[in-house]
């Protein structure tokens, strides 16, 4: 039985297994889910062992463990592939707008609905099930190393330390990551660049405690208002970030790349599906696809101040807390950008309030050459499973560890994504297409063969 046949025969089992894993609410951001994180790691460890991986272990970190396993029987000449993914998921509460329990997977037509369905348990399962099929077929053409972490959604604070300490163990020719989306179910795409990320918290304080807005309103600079005034100064009317020097290190796009990216621009109908009749926003000199992939941004992810519950409270809030993040592109340095943000915020803060800007996490942007054999193998693997060749794209999201892998292990990172744009990763009712699950497994199997072939031809 070929690996492809094996995968087709076992598709139903694969879906059941994925559902089992999705039932474990492995939310790394919330301490209340500590035990669930352990259960999700143990589940993965058992699954790796079951399909024939060796050296399976939970590598302890200062936070949640990294799950590792390998299968190294393709021979010394065969390429070695390091597969990275994560078993933690974003927070999800029914009250966020979910139609049903986010941790009780449901199938609606072609869609599997659950938190983590696409990001990233479903896509880790594509890699794992492709490996299972290749091993079961008795012809796994590459050596495999799986490294699945539990802290991606909180910025991977401990992974770099583990990678640094185990450079030999993780050494490979290519790093493969499935944690991105493709253009559509009919149109694969290959993301060759990812944005970096800085997350920050801005705290604006005024009076020592909440005050009565009647007794004091009109003579104290309201911290909620002051926070709003600060936020309002972070963009100009064209949607450009106003922080001095923010765009200094951004690589300019050449015409070829702009043309390539234009093939994957967001169409009007796609836009309307998400935004209704509201027009878009942002730097008018750039296409939407460029604003998301090749331009840095500054985004407000949350704000809280005063009384926002039921009814009304006549309060003049003592403080406002704003969660801010910046998406960065090559060659911006997160720490340098944070300094620029902090300096500007200090600059525009009036004497009437006190501000504190704290960095929570830093992630570097990443870019992988299009002409590398590992990337070329990916283009061919998609082409074998789809009618259309893949679009070449820049991803707007961030996988901070990608840049770390490139730097620490000195290898190219290929993002073999199988999510769909309307999968609602991070939002309520996250979905995963079962068609993509099946095709994804075939594509990964094909990729391993193409990579082995390409490497042999090169040699």
């Amino acid at each position: 039985m070929t690996a492809f046949e094996y995968a087709r025969t076992h598709h139903h089992d694969f879906v059941k297994q994925l559902e089992d894993w999705l039932r474990i609410p492995s939310v790394s951001a919330q301490p209340a889910h500590k035990d669930d994180m352990g259960r999700a790691a143990n589940w993965l460890q058992a699954e790796m062992t079951r399909i024939g991986f060796e050296n399976v272990e939970l590598i302890p970190t200062e936070g949640y463990p990294v799950v590792y396993g390998d299968y190294l029987h393709a021979g010394e000449d065969a390429p070695t592939v390091l597969v990275y993914g994560h078993y933690d998921v974003q927070p999800a509460e029914l009250s966020d707008g979910w139609d049903a329990d986010p941790f009780e997977p449901r199938i609606d037509g072609d869609l599997l609905i659950a938190r983590g369905a696409t990001d990233d348990k479903g896509q880790v399962m594509i890699q794992l099930k492709a490996a299972e099929a290749l091993i079961a077929s008795g012809n796994c053409p590459v050596n495999l190393k799986f490294l699945i972490e539990g802290e991606e959604e909180v910025g991977s604070p401990n992974l770099a330390t583990i990678v640094e300490a185990r450079v030999e163990q993780f050494a490979a020719d290519v790093c493969l990551i499935s944690d991105t989306t493709i253009k559509s179910v009919d149109q694969p795409s290959l993301v060759y660049s990812l944005r970096g990320l800085i997350t920050m918290e801005l705290i604006v304080t005024g009076p020592k405690g909440d005050l009565h807005s009647g007794g004091f309103g009109g003579m104290i600079h309201n911290p909620a208002q002051a926070a709003a005034e600060i936020i309002a100064k972070l963009h100009d009317t064209d949607g450009r970030v106003t922080i001095p020097g923010f765009y200094e290190e951004v690589r300019a796009l050449d015409d070829n790349e702009r043309d390539e990216l234009a093939r994957g621009d967001v169409s009007e109908s796609e836009w309307a599906a998400i935004m209704g009749t509201l027009p878009d926003y942002g730097e008018s000199a750039y296409r939407r696809v460029e604003r998301v992939g090749a331009r840095p941004t500054l985004e407000i992810n949350g704000i809280a101040s005063g009384y926002a519950g039921d009814g009304f409270k006549t309060v003049l809030p003592a403080r406002a807390v704003v969660k801010i993040s910046c998406r960065l592109v090559a060659d911006q340095d997160p720490r340098a950008i944070f300094e620029k943000v902090a300096a500007y915020v200090r600059d525009i803060t009036p004497a009437t309030v006190h501000v504190e800007l704290r960095a929570l996490e830093f992630g570097y942007p990443a870019l992988t050459p299009l002409d590398h054999p590992a990337t070329q193998a990916a283009i061919r693997a998609y082409a074998r499973n789809w009618e259309n060749p893949p679009l070449l794209m820049r991803g707007g999201g961030s996988i901070p560890i990608v840049a770390d892998f490139q730097r620490l292990l000195d290898l190219p990172v290929v993002l073999l994504g199988f999510g769909l744009p309307d999968c609602r990763a991070h939002g309520p009712n996250e979905t995963f297409s079962l068609t993509m699950f099946e095709k994804g497994i075939d594509t990964v199997i094909a990729y391993m063969h193409e990579l082995a072939e390409g490497t042999r031809n090169d040699a």
Binding site: S213, G214, G282, I303, K313
Partner: protein
């Protein structure tokens, strides 16, 4: 024979125990989860009013917590009637980690009684009950008839009592209304508030995408609703601190120079201001003193904001919506509906096409109030402070709002005396709310004196009128 004041002093410890029992009831009217507690508070109050010798009952009002009504009407023919207003509901106290002792477990420390509602308003209006009790206990009668109307929705808009006073006010008919729900800065300078700002509140909701979006996948192409809301809020004030809404100040009266002089006699310097607020430096309309900014100028204030993720850690989203609770404090002659209308029009005008804005009215709406200082009742109050409190009061135009005050004044056509016994540092609406125990005691004394002095002033008026009539007849 024991005088009422002596009785009050002897019974102080018991009075405080009773107040503590009252404060233990978490009657939070803004949060439906406390509905049973609010109702239990009303019943406790009825029982207590009965126990001091009044006839008391609950009055059900549509869709609101019951009013507590009590009366003692045996002062005899021709006697004046005093109406006491108070509220038995309290503000929320969800931020319990910031309280030294739990908000609903009253604790006495350093001569103060700490609890939610200690000063706003349970502790303050309890002085009315204890003054009446003391007079009845020592004199076996009262110099005036008294009525109590105590509501349970003051912190949530007073809708029930406002309607009741408007529609069935005749039952509350009296010669004067006394309210103790305000404060002073110094005990040597008690304050009678003769003006209150009005208030109107609403919620602004800014919506963008139909749901939260991944900030990586969409960031840079979607106008972030929190950012858009911030940009809108930033346009609501001018750089000089004035409100930027067109026409906002149209109906505000110009201050006369003698009014400014009277207001500014009540000095609020930057040092005591900084101590009281903990803020760095004052803000607001430069051409007005601090006292004027809160007393005679209208404001627009952000009371709360929420949007996106504010839990532990981070969540990389573009929030679908962002909301802000906003209120305007109003001064004499400003119309609440007109102001909301103006804000609404301005918001529509400054909302960019990339998001949509909705304005949702909240049930907080009242015009400002201004009360004459020369009338008999006010003069009686001044003397009551001099005798009962020990110091002559000053007049203040207060920044806060008590919607029912204007309502009673207008519908019953009687003066409302704001005889507040709180301190401005009592942390009302905030953690560690408290009430000074000596203020509680002196408040009781002041109310006892007021009832006696006001009764005398009414008698002498009546006698004089009778005499005048006789003289006229003789002529």
């Amino acid at each position: 024979m024991t005088t009422a004041k002596e009785y009050a002093n002897e019974q102080l410890e018991r009075f405080l125990e009773e107040l503590q029992a009252y404060l233990r009831l978490p009657g939070i009217s803004t949060d439906a989860a406390y509905a049973d507690d609010v109702r239990a508070t009303a019943q406790w109050l009825v029982d207590h009013l009965e126990s001091i010798g009044c006839t008391a009952r609950q009055i059900e009002v549509h869709d609101q917590y019951p009013l507590v009504y009590a009366e003692w009407l045996h002062a005899g023919e021709g006697a004046a009637t005093v109406l006491f207003y108070g509220h038995y509901d309290v503000q929320p106290a969800e931020d319990t980690q910031n309280w030294t002792s739990p908000p609903f477990e009253p604790e006495r420390r350093d001569g103060k009684l700490y609890a939610r509602g200690a000063t706003d308003d349970k502790g303050q209006h309890f002085t009315h009950l204890k003054a009446v009790e003391s007079l009845l206990a020592s004199d076996e009668t009262l110099p005036v008839n008294v009525k109590f109307i105590i509501e349970g929705n003051e912190e949530s808009g007073s809708r029930g009592i406002l309607q009741y006073v408007q529609q069935q006010g005749e039952m509350l008919q009296a010669d004067v209304c006394v309210v103790s729900d305000t404060s002073m800065s110094k005990k040597e300078e008690p304050i009678i508030v003769n003006s209150l700002r009005g208030v109107v509140a609403f919620e602004v909701v800014v919506s963008g995408p139909a749901q939260d979006l991944h900030s990586g996948m969409y960031g840079g192409t979607v106008h972030n609703p929190v950012q858009a809301l911030a940009e809108i809020i930033a346009k609501l004030h001018n750089p000089d601190g004035s409100v930027a809404v067109p026409g906002f100040y149209d109906d505000v009266r110009d201050l006369l120079s003698h009014e400014r002089e009277q207001i500014n006699r009540d000095i609020w310097d930057n040092v005591s201001w900084a101590e009281e607020t903990g803020a760095l430096v004052p803000w607001g309309e430069e051409n007005f003193s601090l006292r004027e900014r809160v007393g005679v100028r209208p404001t627009l204030e952000v009371n709360g904001m929420a949007g996106g993720y504010d839990g532990t850690g981070t969540k990389a989203i573009i929030p679908a919506t962002a909301r802000a609770k906003i209120s305007c404090r109003l001064v004499a002659d400003q119309n609440p509906d007109d102001i909301v209308d103006k804000v609404h029009k301005y918001l529509k005008k400054i909302t960019p096409p990339t998001v949509s804005t909705q304005i949702v009215p909240l049930s907080v709406r009242s015009p400002a109030v201004l009360i004459e200082t020369q009338i008999d009742a006010m003069q009686a109050a001044i003397r009551a402070y001099e005798v009962g409190w020990g110091h002559t009061p000053i007049f203040r135009r207060e920044g806060g709002s008590i919607p029912v005050v204007g309502n009673i004044q207008h519908n019953l056509n009687i003066p409302v005396l704001l005889m507040g016994f709180g301190m401005s540092t009592d942390n009302l609406h905030a953690p560690n709310e408290h009430f000074h125990i000596d203020n509680f005691q002196r408040g009781i004394h002041t109310i006892i004196e007021f009832l006696n002095i006001f009764a005398q002033s009414q008698n002498s008026t009546t006698e004089k009128t009778t005499q005048e009539k006789k003289e006229e007849e003789t002529k």
